[in-house]
Symmetry: C2
Subunit: 258 residues, 2 copies
Amino acid sequence: EPNVIALANQKGGVGKTTTAVNLAASLAERKQRVLLIDLDPQANATSGLGVAAVPGASVYDVLLGNARLVEKVQATSMERLFIIPSEVDLAGAEVDVARQDRYLHRFKDALDPLRAISHYDYILVDCPPSLGILTMNALAAVDGVMIPLQCEYYALEGLSVITQLVNRLRDSGANPALEIDGIVMTMFDGRTNLSQQVMDEVKTHFADKVYETIIPRNIRISEAPSHGLPVVRYDGKSAGAEAYRHLAAEFVKRSKAR
Amino acid sequence: EPNVIALANQKGGVGKTTTAVNLAASLAERKQRVLLIDLDPQANATSGLGVAAVPGASVYDVLLGNARLVEKVQATSMERLFIIPSEVDLAGAEVDVARQDRYLHRFKDALDPLRAISHYDYILVDCPPSLGILTMNALAAVDGVMIPLQCEYYALEGLSVITQLVNRLRDSGANPALEIDGIVMTMFDGRTNLSQQVMDEVKTHFADKVYETIIPRNIRISEAPSHGLPVVRYDGKSAGAEAYRHLAAEFVKRSKAR
Ligand SMILES: Nc1ncnc2c1ncn2[C@@H]1O[C@H](COP(=O)(O)OP(=O)(O)OP(=O)(O)O)[C@@H](O)[C@H]1O
Ligand SMILES: Nc1ncnc2c1ncn2[C@@H]1O[C@H](COP(=O)(O)OP(=O)(O)OP(=O)(O)O)[C@@H](O)[C@H]1O
Ligand SMILES: [Mg+2]
Ligand SMILES: [Mg+2]
């Protein structure tokens, strides 16, 4: 069965999509079979992998019970990397899904059959910057949450919101298996004290949950999406690509240890 | 009557809060009376001005009709700058407000009396990174929307979503007075081509809506919030402080011209 991980953090712009896309691509490079599900109406992970956002292609129908997840899977330009894209309909999901029965478990009900029949090693789910119905559906369905954390003060402030939510969902029985897979420090800028201060603070409170791999601020990472490529394909020798390859290695090691 | 402006963009981490806090502070420095309303449950604008997020202090009660906006106004450490803070209750507002009558106009109904009695020159409203009920309430109530835009590809992709929404709200009569006050380029990094490419693209499509003032990526801007100070107070001589002072001057000029 696949290991299913959500990339979630209600703070905006912390590197959720960048980590989802580049971790998925780095895992595919390591011969892992990976499915990336874009649950964000912004559809950044979709365009970041060079896939068009076509109306009807997203999980929207699936959440309303009118289609199965397996039908939405598409190939990407990378071998072993597949995607269920987002598109504009998904923006209506927050309201439309809220009116359904089991409205927080629609995604889980759809994912369980896919887990059983698929031969993916990993399924990654990119979430929007909010704790609304789409993110809550993801958290109710996955095995673990990877929390990208920008090395900035405002991002640090919001960290306890998402970590406490994960603990509440597990302890309340909404998702008994849910755990924090880890916290990944992103956009680390070694030239400033701020990045180091934020990282020290996070390590004090979350110790072994913090990934050793640190993602540096790297211009090639932010250029790659405009080419529809993950950074490991756009500039495979860049510091950004190397960092995400290290992250993939550490991620595999951690997920096997569980 | 005050000029009421929302800082909105569904893309996360583009500088909405940073612009709300530092524009408000720069206007106060220019002897303008300013009220900043924090509509984001993350409460970053609240902590960015050194104000505690106390349960019951936000607009939450107001949106449910149990209090008036004027009761929630607090002073800040800066003369002529006032705030209505956010706090954790506000996270429940999306769901609780959705069940009320006129659920998209609760904020407007609350703001109109404040407009009539107050002697503010400007009211700025910081919005969360989504187009949910809190942001929609803000867009239905304000005179104009300032759209901070990070000089990055993903941010560029989402620009038409917010600009088209503003046009739809005006043309549908939901807020007949609503217009785009302007687009402010933020975190501009002159050392990379990406920033320039994004800016050129925005200017091609939005020409005179783009503010001439460009906010550079500046470490002092991101350090200031950890001290609970706007950058004009944290490091008044920094490039970041200067940029926001220029923005305030251009903002006043544009708002007077309308
Ligand atoms: N390590 C990095 N170095 C440089 N730029 C980065 C890095 N990581 C992300 N970025 C850029 O920062 C911006 C924010 O990242 P991204 O969009 O992945 O964050 P997000 O958390 O998914 O945002 P949202 O909250 O809107 O979903 C993007 O423009 C991205 O290209
Ligand atoms: N010009 C700048 N130079 C350097 N850092 C900046 C600049 N503007 C904003 N930042 C930093 O970038 C991060 C994102 O900015 P900010 O939180 O203001 O964006 P936002 O759009 O309000 O985010 P959200 O979508 O979560 O509400 C913050 O940590 C902030 O300190
Ligand atoms: Mg994203
Ligand atoms: Mg903000």
